[in-house]
């Protein structure tokens, strides 16, 4: 039910101006001009990229149900929320989301948390247990963290527990969202529950449970600063100041949908400076919409040339590929490989 309400409430915010896929692109975190522009226009930052792995088929089952139950209807290809739909979301306040600043990275935090909790839970009994998280970066991070705090000391174990509990208590979220988060954790001889198991026990659909869980993770990370033992686990999770100040300004304008020329004019800067900013953005943001500037084929061609020539010199590449611009080459070289 949570997912249904959230989707309807976002359509309500779109104010009858967007089609049925708009919420899908928002949840997926699509970096196209339209989606990004809408985030600003309709103030949808909290919900941007909250479920990057959502499939269209999964989303469509919700949309079809919403149409069938007449919470929404279609007028001129735009979704309109019906009276019934407005009633549905009357008391609905989706709290805790901060998608704009996490975009799927909250899962890296959860992995760390899960491994720390599992280790502490096992510590009094045994240190020979199979780690629930097998990814190397998580394991190294957690190992360093635990070593730093001398985790076998009861004092640390108590402090960690108290901080986690107090932090969870303080979060302005319903009990169920916290319950889901805690039941995804594993400990000594008690494993976490799968989404399907939680669905059966809580009688709520998987997407709703996952969305609640995401909201809980976001607020947990956002509120962690007064709980140092938890805050330490949130290192490099939040996406904040990735860019220099000037580039940030360009980026802000760019993601509102302004063209390079418009930004240059507006900021009274040379076009080449704006191009510098875009290159910086491409470098810092794995989701930079490179294809908006360079075709997939050209991107591949530039990468291949750079590799064969063992160079990042623009001219050398340009000589081999006369039809692409210097700006395009710069973007491709700056952008992170897929």
């Amino acid at each position: 039910m949570f997912a249904t309400k959230l989707i309807v409430s976002i359509f309500a915010r779109y104010n009858n101006q967007r089609g049925p896929s708009a919420v899908y692109h928002l949840f997926k975190g699509k970096k196209s001009g339209q989606t990004i522009q809408d985030v600003g226009l309709f103030q949808l930052y909290p919900f941007f990229s909250i479920t990057p792995k959502l499939t269209k088929a999964q989303y469509d089952t919700y949309i079809e149900k919403l149409f069938a139950e007449q919470f929404i209807l279609l007028t001129d290809e735009n979704v309109v929320v019906t009276e019934k739909g407005h009633q549905l979301i009357e008391d609905f306040r989706p709290e805790g989301f901060d998608g704009w600043h996490y975009r799927g990275r909250e899962h890296a935090f959860f992995k760390r948390l899960a491994l720390v909790v599992q280790t502490l839970s096992n510590a009094p009994q045994t240190m020979r247990f199979l780690p629930i998280e097998q990814d190397g970066a998580t394991q190294r991070f957690v190992k360093q963290y635990l070593r730093h705090y001398d985790f076998q000391q009861p004092a640390f174990q108590q402090q960690f527990t108290t901080q986690l509990r107090t932090l969870l208590e303080r979060l302005q979220l319903d009990e169920r969202s916290k319950q889901i988060l805690v039941y995804r954790l594993s400990g000594y001889e008690q494993s976490g529950y799968t989404w399907h198991q939680l669905e059966q026990l809580l009688k709520e659909d998987v997407l709703s449970l996952q969305l609640r869980y995401i909201s809980c993770l976001h607020s947990l990370i956002n509120e962690a600063q007064h709980y140092p033992l938890i805050a330490d686990l949130t290192q490099h999770i939040r996406i904040d100041q990735l860019l220099t100040q000037s580039t940030q300004k360009t980026a802000t304008l760019f993601y509102k949908g302004y063209s390079l020329e418009q930004i240059a004019q507006f900021r009274q800067l040379k076009i080449s400076t704006i191009e510098d900013h875009l290159a910086e953005m491409a470098m810092n943001d794995a989701q930079f919409p490179l294809t908006q500037f360079v075709s997939i084929d050209d991107t591949a061609a530039i990468r291949t040339q750079a590799q064969t020539l063992q160079t990042t010199k623009l001219r050398a590449i340009k000589e081999q590929l006369p039809h692409v611009s210097y700006f395009q080459i710069r973007l491709v070289l700056a952008a992170k490989g897929e």
Binding site: V117, A137, F160, L164, E175, G187, T194, Q197
Partner: protein, 477 residues
């Protein structure tokens, strides 16, 4: 140090299991070695222990990411820190970390495609190697049930002056063994073939009408003790069985390759910790399940090959206590299994699409990305297209299809024979010398003599509140 002493101090075992010591001694004597040990007989120890005797890194080539990670974790549990896996699924950070410490590892796991890279080859040439292990070595043979073309390049990637090779597999026929020796360019290998017979496994094959299968399975599960695994062929079926068992009050869930990684891990752990009694799964389940007390394996279909059947039933009764393995089949099962088995073979259409991509200068791997063929089909096709002319490839694929058909027929023949155990052994060129009591359904079987009755486990339907649950996980107040 004595082998026994290392075994005890490093691994906490008091004695070798059958076959292990001979294999380890051959390896330590510097001989190329082929060792076949049935699933659950402690294959890994055959290279883990030499790691503490020989000088230099033990390089283990392993076909599956999950298997590799599982082995790494297992070694870490034994307190080994100098162990790592290098495969194409590692994050760039992780890869770099492994790369920086390459020579320092005692155990280094490599996927075959990593081994093929020039950089890795170069590194291996320069460092001190103690032993080369080829795990799941049957993957090298196109007659094996899990042919990996990458495996054929292993010999080329190894330095000329190399340490001995240890090729490991659970099951292999004579034809596969000779492929292993040939393609790995082994020098007068010592070969150890442990009997594939598992006297504590009791085999059942029951013909049944398709519409009666589910009811029979539920009845069996609620009559006799678990824990157990039900193997089925589709993801949908895993969910159906799980939900039927849950309704019958059984602590069961499903497992298939389409689930997210964390959920798969949770199911494995719940099963291993005894929080669940039954898993309804596709053949994706099993690798890396170290659970000794599995009492039953149920198949609702004919497996694709005798070897995969052996692998799957071999997960039962690793504690040496009796276990029942039951296969339900109906007359049309063989045809259905052949269909599933050949699903992943490339077709003539694929061959022409492959060439069209090549002509257009497109990356051929795009065939998979564009949904034109499965990953497995591409892997097989790509390999043969590089080896043979297109017309020969078509021929080759027909041969492979015929072979798959034959493998399924072999399974069908065994389960409908006069003694399942004797025929299983015969398939692996072995003779059954001693028939245990309650040998198999063909010889006559008394289920009650094998298994204790089902007991109702407390299948609580209520969750604790979050404070209580957190307190259970972290009882530090």
């Amino acid at each position: 140090m004595e082998l026994q002493q290392i075994l005890h101090e490093r691994f906490g075992y008091t004695a070798f299991r059958e076959g292990q010591q001979d294999i380890i001694e051959a390896v330590l004597a510097g001989r190329d070695t082929v060792a076949l040990l049935p699933t659950g007989m402690g294959k890994s120890l055959c290279y883990q222990l030499p790691g503490y005797v020989v000088e230099g890194t033990i390089v283990v080539i392993s076909p599956l990411l999950s298997l590799m990670q599982d082995q790494v974790e297992q070694l870490k549990q034994f307190g080994e820190k100098r162990v790592a896996a290098l495969n194409s699924f590692l994050s760039p950070d992780d890869k770099q970390f492994v790369w920086q410490h390459f020579e320092d590892y005692r155990f280094l796991f490599l996927s075959p495609e990593m081994l093929a890279s020039q950089a890795v080859k170069g590194r291996l040439q320069q460092m001190k190697l103690g032993l080369i292990v080829v795990d799941e070595a049957h993957c090298i043979s196109q007659w094996g049930y899990d042919f990996r073309p990458d495996y054929l390049q292993i010999a080329d990637a190894l330095p000329a002056a190399r340490p001995p090779i240890l090729a490991l597999s659970a099951t292999a026929t004579a034809r596969i063994i000779s492929d292993i020796e040939h393609y790995l360019a082994m020098k007068q290998p010592a070969t150890f073939i442990h009997s594939v017979d598992r006297p504590n496994l009791h085999y059942e094959a029951l013909e049944i009408e398709p519409f009666e299968k589910a009811a029979a399975i539920i009845k069996q599960v609620t009559t006799f003790e678990g824990p157990g695994i039900i193997y089925t062929q589709s993801r949908k079926k895993t969910m159906e069985y799980a939900s039927m068992l849950q309704q019958a009050g059984v602590r069961a869930t499903f497992y298939h390759g389409g689930m997210e990684q964390q959920d798969r891990m949770l199911v494995q752990r719940q099963f291993m910790h005894g929080e669940l009694d039954w898993i309804c799964a596709t053949n994706a389940f099993g690798m890396g399940i170290h659970k000794n007390n599995i009492r039953q394996i149920i198949h609702d279909h004919l497996p694709q090959t005798v070897s995969s059947y052996m692998q799957e039933v071999g997960r039962a009764g690793r504690d040496g206590l009796p276990a029942l393995v039951t296969l339900y089949y109906d007359a049309r099962d063989a045809a259905r299994t052949v269909e599933v088995a050949t699903l992943d073979l490339p077709t003539d259409v694929h061959i022409s699409r492959y060439m069209a991509y090549a002509d257009a200068g497109k990356t051929r791997a795009q065939l998979v990305a564009n949904g034109e063929m499965t990953d497995t089909a591409f892997r097989v096709l790509d390999y043969w297209m590089r080896q043979l002319a297109p017309s020969e490839v078509s021929q080759k694929i027909q041969e492979l299809a015929a072979d798959k058909q034959q493998q399924v027929s072999a399974v069908a023949k065994i389960v409908t024979s006069t003694c399942i155990r004797a025929q299983l052994l015969a398939y692996f060129d072995e003779q059954l010398l001693e028939k245990p009591q309650n040998c198999c359904s063909a010889c006559g079987i008394e289920r009650h003599a094998i298994l204790a009755p089902y007991t109702d486990k407390n299948n609580s339907k209520d969750l604790l509140n979050w404070q209580q649950r957190l307190n259970q996980l972290l009882p530090f107040n």
